[in-house]
Symmetry: C2
Subunit: 355 residues, 2 copies
DNA sequence: GTTGACTTCCAAAACGTTTTGGTATAACCT
DNA sequence: AGGTTATACCAAAACGTTTTGGAAGTCAAC
């Protein structure tokens, strides 16, 4: 039903070759012919058949992204924003975005295989990197182009963008100590996740600089959801020796922890300090507003996407491995500050990596 | 590089035709040949070339979804969950999911056109339906298969799933009145959105049954974000004649409203009641936990996706137009209740529409 | 009036499938 | 024997592009 090159060729009385080359602006087509072809193409509302092009070019012009979810229902708003960043940049650069969802149980590379088979995608963006990530081994062994947000343990002989989680946690430690908190607990995700170790270690080191020892029995493991944060915070807070500050490794768990504290009648910011990580939009609107580590998620998504597309197109990357420095956003969940209203959102990467 | 039918054919000494038919389990291939072909295919790690198949079959086996965002950064967690529902169901049924992002400013059908051209997708799932939605006219005029979540004003001669927003709001009205609130304001989204009218009208009707008139000057317009809810709630609450209850048309705006109230020193649930709509996961973890209207978002996503795929494959739909009855989830944002801890999440559609 | 350069065009092959319309062989009836 | 039926196979066309390797024509230079 839709018009093809053949239809145009018939109309202008030229060959399919010439029409194709006219539309692609080759210079072995006369200006008059080009004009005519363009006119007829317009008239017939011609759109090249994507899959025919891809078959012929052996390129899919599509990038793949596996959207992580915790169980069917829960997904971190972090990834929505990341997705928006990828999607808008991809569209801008003429690429399609193929999305698949994957729950954390399904840890294999099935979703990756599904996308890869039949050359559906030219490359991947990967997130939630594990310390030893079999997906990376798989993609490396198949010689697939990809880029990760976050990096694994070991040599990391692939391009990635990561945030300096240890640095972020040091900022948190400084702030908590400055606000007068010293009995500090932490809610961390699965230690298999690559960033877990770095964040916990950053916290430990940051506290150590102030002469405070992070008691490892106060480092709980959870699943990055509100529910998880709630449960672990509750365990911490009803113990014999409850902490006065809880450092959560993402905002969702921080919200859960706030919920647990409030349920126990504690006032967050006074009786107990709570911090997050990521600065998702909700962080400015919780009660109290959450002090957290800011990451310019949307921009990172776009940046990673652009790097991947450069790789796919065979360009040299300016920097293969980028570490971003996150910043501390002080709100009220660790006690008094001057700010009272939700601040306007300020976007921006660390100075070293302006886009 | 990857193996093709031709490679297999060469190895087994049969024609490409036979190999193709063997792999597709046609019965004009001998069992021995089939077994042999399968074995060789396995050995060569054969995967059919997706785009060649799609070109030949003139079907993309892909569905399109435009992910709505409010500005670059903000997206409603509602849609993440909806997306997960679509994505998992699509994968299950062997379809790809092509996602594009679209900010609300970009109201045209550019994103739809982009996906449609070149037959990239076989059909669409549409959300955020407008009262008069030009996207629908466009898709109808192009004879494209699609399904919407939400329906527009007028005849709606297309398949859709919608929730009974008026009913949901009536539940809210009943609850607020029962809790003793009578000075009631509302924060609604853009009246161009189809559900706005139905929800506001439902609220009005529900209050009217209790002899309460909804003052239309107390119905504010906002943009479905926390920020928007915050701003409008602030206006309401610092007015001469502030409401004692604020009914927000989605959870995000309710969170913003709570934030505004708390900033003004009000205790939510006592000085002012606040309700939401959607019951996103965060609703159970706000402070206080949010009383809201529950929609089984993940299931709805899956349901809509399955309906679309049925349509694409030419099957008859059992029901073309489905209206779901949402339920009220009482937490603490409208005052005392018995429940104290975040309840375990219970999934389920209204009884009429179990999946 | 031959040579070379340039311009404009195109037939055919290719990408990897599926489908169409067969053929060849064997087996089974009368 | 001739005729039918079933089984197993396949060559070729088709899907809609892009690319390859020319060909034909014009024009200027010698």
């Amino acid at each position: 039903m839709p018009a093809t090159l053949k239809d145009i060729a018939a109309r202008v009385g030229k060959s399919v070759t010439t029409v194709s080359r006219a539309l692609n602006d080759f210079d072995d087509v006369s200006p008059e012919t080009k004009a005519l072809v363009l006119e007829v193409a317009e008239e017939l509302d011609y759109q090249p058949h994507t899959y025919a092009q891809r078959l012929q070019k052996r390129r899919s012009e599509t990038i793949g992204f596996i959207f992580p979810t915790s169980g069917p229902r829960f997904s971190d708003p972090f990834f929505s924003e990341f997705l928006a960043g990828i999607g808008n940049k991809a569209a801008l650069l003429g690429y399609d975005l193929l999305v698949s969802t994957q729950s954390p149980e399904e840890l294999g590379h099935e979703a990756y295989r599904r996308m890869l088979e039949g050359g559906r995608v030219d490359g991947f963006i990967m997130v939630r990197i594990h310390r030893h990530d079999s997906r990376i081994d798989y993609l490396l062994s198949r010689n697939v182009t990809f880029i990760t947000f976050g990096c694994s343990e070991g040599k990391n002989n692939f391009p990635f963008v990561d945030e300096d989680g240890a640095h972020g946690m040091r900022l948190v430690a400084d702030h908590l100590v400055h606000q007068g908190f010293s009995r500090i607990a932490c809610i961390a995700p699965n230690p298999e996740l690559a960033f877990t170790g770095r964040r916990v270690e950053g916290l430990r080191a940051g506290l150590a600089e102030h002469g405070i020892t992070l008691d490892m029995s106060q480092v709980m493991t959870s699943d990055l959801t509100q529910r998880g944060g709630y449960e672990q915070a509750k365990i911490l807070l009803i113990s014999n020796n409850p902490p006065t500050a809880i450092v959560a490794c993402n905002d969702l768990m921080a919200f859960g922890a706030m919920s647990a504290a409030q349920e126990l009648g504690l006032t967050v910011g006074r009786d107990v300090a709570i911090t997050g990580f990521d600065d998702i939009p909700m962080a400015a609107y919780s009660h109290p507003p959450l002090t957290t580590i800011h990451q310019p998620i949307y921009k990172i998504g776009g940046m990673v996407c652009e790097m991947l597309i450069n790789l796919i197109e065979g360009d040299q990357l300016e920097e293969e491995q980028i570490i971003l420095s996150p910043t501390l956003v002080v709100r009220q969940s660790c006690g008094e500050t001057l700010k009272l209203e939700p601040e306007p959102y300020k976007e921006g990467l660390s100075k070293e990596h302006q886009l």
